[in-house]
Amino acid sequence: MLVKKVNNNWDLFNPWRSVGDLHYDLSSLFDMMNDQLTNSRASYPKLNVQETDKEFIVQAFLPGCKKEKINVQVLSNYLTISATREDNPKSDDEKYLRKERSFGIFEESLNLPSKVQNDNITAEYKNGILTVTLPKLENKITSVKVL
């Protein structure tokens, strides 16, 4: 999950700031609890988001998917990854002793904190992980001459 915390001078004097902080603290507490609960059960992470100076790297954990069934869409700075995973065909003489893996539709969307170069986005699927690299849009600084 991407969390953008704004800290500017105006924010310091905003009386509602502590309410926002409380909301942030509570939601991170719930995230932590959720992580611990899911960690004790069988699982692997869903998404991993990293940010470097030049790009965002989003990794989606999609074991056993076919490349053709993975769809990556970017609309301005909103990224959507969707994929379909099909279960192995089951024959009559088989009996499940344990079934923990999930199949079906996977969909995750996230809002990137800044705009990306929509023409240079790359995606690679390897070892069950989809890695989407989104280069950031460079902010051009124009200096204006004072006449």
């Binding site: 069988a42 692997y44 991993n48 990293q50 074991p63 009996k95 893996r101 070892n127």
Partner: protein
């Protein structure tokens, strides 16, 4: 000592979900281990305990992902004939049943 602890902190361990399917000729075991390649997987059977370990090169929250899971096997399985294959982050194993353990159905006439 501190170095040992530091090294432990570099990893985050997950328990991969499993599907176990019983067939007439043995067991099929499927594990979801996204990010695990052929070289980083370590599958062992010792004293009828099947243990699967994988140390991946994939990071999650700045720590490398590690997978660990173990199962105890029943005696009617031929553990020495286990085959394993990893593809697209899915580990597929097959453990055949012992010859004696295969059920022989006798038709009553």
């Amino acid at each position: 000592m501190t170095k040992e602890i530091e090294k432990k902190l570099e990893y985050v361990t997950f328990t991969p979900p499993v599907d176990i399917v019983e067939k007439s000729d043995g067991l099929d075991i499927f594990l979801d281990v996204p990010g695990a390649c052929q070289e980083c997987l370590d599958v062992n059977i010792e004293d009828n305990v099947l243990s699967i370990k994988a140390e991946t090169n994939t990071k999650y929250n700045d720590k490398f992902i590690k997978y660990e899971r173990a199962f105890s096997l029943s005696d009617d399985l031929a553990a020495d004939k286990t085959s394993a294959k990893v593809e697209d982050g899915q580990l597929k194993m097959h453990i055949p049943k012992n010859e004696e353990a295969k059920i022989k159905r006798i038709t009553v006439t």
